[in-house]
Amino acid sequence: MPQISQILETYASQFFWLLIVFGLLYFGIGRAMLPRIEATVDARDSKIAGDLAAAEKARAEAGDLEGAWQADLTQTRAAAQAEAQKAKAKAQKDADARLSKADAEIAAKTADAEAAIAKARAKALGGIDAVAADAAQDIVAKVSGIKVTPAQAAQAVKTVLANG
């Protein structure tokens, strides 16, 4: 095994060159190049974190703006709705007042007309009694030949009408 059999002849050369090479590696690459690569990675990480934070802030701002806009919109809509409600209520009230006035007028007219009709009907009904009594007097005379006085006929008609 040359690693052991050659050890006495080669150890100085191995140590010497390894220390030179490892020294160059440690100081030239490990301590000089590596930190710069890590700085690049850190710079990128912090840039990404910063950008993410900025984006998050912008998002929050947009959310706030949208909320304010939404609140404004809601308020305006409520105001408009209240205004419309008020106008509607006023219109309804006006219409109700006019309607009730018209109703009252119509009711008065109807009552007058009904009274007139009732009067006319009563008059007409009174007429019917007399006609019926006359007719009954005539019919009795024609059918039986008995002469009935107008008072008797009127009495009979009244009885029949009252029953019928």
């Binding site: 191995q14 060159w17 090479v21 690459i29 490990g30 590596l34 990675v41």
Partner: protein, 261 residues
């Protein structure tokens, strides 16, 4: 691969051969094939990391890959150690990348170019020992620096009954002191064993094809070749797992030093 008299030596791949002899104060510090592969590993990591240095806000594919690896190590250290672990990310990252790329470099099929041999830096005890000592030494220095002598309370776990005080600290001390050995040996053994197994199977394939008897090739070479495909896949997995285990254990040990128990 040395094949003398038809024999293939599976250990030859670990041989360190000098490329340019160097001498410093009596020590042989020759530039070897091992040193060459260390430099290749370093260059590969540097090229990989360079692709991630565009520093775009929106990463391209390469930058995303680099950031994926650094993020992986960063997550591992921060979950093991916590927010204080940030300081140790360069160390864990260097260990992880060096072991990972060195393991993969040893698996690269450089051998298809004649005369070129892939060399696995992490299959050498001298290398894994240095890496383990770096990891263990960091734990010791950080622990003693941060907690002074209080660091030794690490060997008395919270809630130890008084009548076990003569035993538990010694077990804890032993398990603490064994850490660099287990770190170094685990990586060294895993890489060595895998590469020996692959080389032995490759030897079966080649020797079977070269055998005089015609029946040897289908009976020996073909199954060995099929098995070798699976073993190679497994080895690639082991390469990544060993690097991960080394880095994870290092960050767990650093957690002991930073936060005690």
């Amino acid at each position: 691969m040395a094949s003398e008299g038809g024999k293939i030596d599976p250990m030859h791949q670990f041989l360190i051969e000098p490329i340019a002899p160097l001498n410093l104060a009596g020590y042989d510090i020759s530039f070897t094939n091992s040193s060459l592969f260390m430099l290749i590993v370093l260059g590969t990591i540097w090229l990989f990391m360079l692709g991630g240095m565009k520093r775009d806000l929106v990463p391209g594919r390469w930058q995303a890959a680099v950031e994926g690896v650094t993020g992986f190590i960063n997550d591992m250290v921060s979950t093991s150690v916590g927010p204080e672990g940030k300081k140790y990310v360069p160390l864990v990252f260097s260990l992880f990348m060096f072991i990972l790329v060195a393991n993969f470099m040893g698996m690269m099929p450089f051998g298809i170019v004649p005369g070129v041999h892939a060399f696995t830096v992490t299959s050498h005890l001298t290398v894994t020992a240095v890496l383990a000592i770096l990891s263990f030494g960091t734990v010791l220095v950080v622990g003693l620096w941060k907690h002074k002598l209080h660091f030794f309370s690490l060997f008395v776990p919270h809630g130890t009954p008084w009548w076990l005080m003569w035993l538990i600290p010694f077990i804890e001390l032993f398990s603490f002191m064994i850490r660099p050995f287990s770190l170094a040996l685990r990586l060294f053994v895993a890489m060595t064993a895998g590469h020996v197994l692959m080389k032995v199977l490759a030897g079966f394939v080649i020797n079977g094809l070269n055998a005089d008897a015609a029946w040897v090739a289908p009976v020996v070479s073909l199954p060995s070749f099929i098995l070798m495909i699976g073993i190679t896949m497994l080895e690639l997995l082991v390469c990544a797992i060993q690097a991960y285990v080394f880095a994870l254990l290092t960050s767990l040990y650093i957690n002991d030093a930073v936060n005690l128990h």
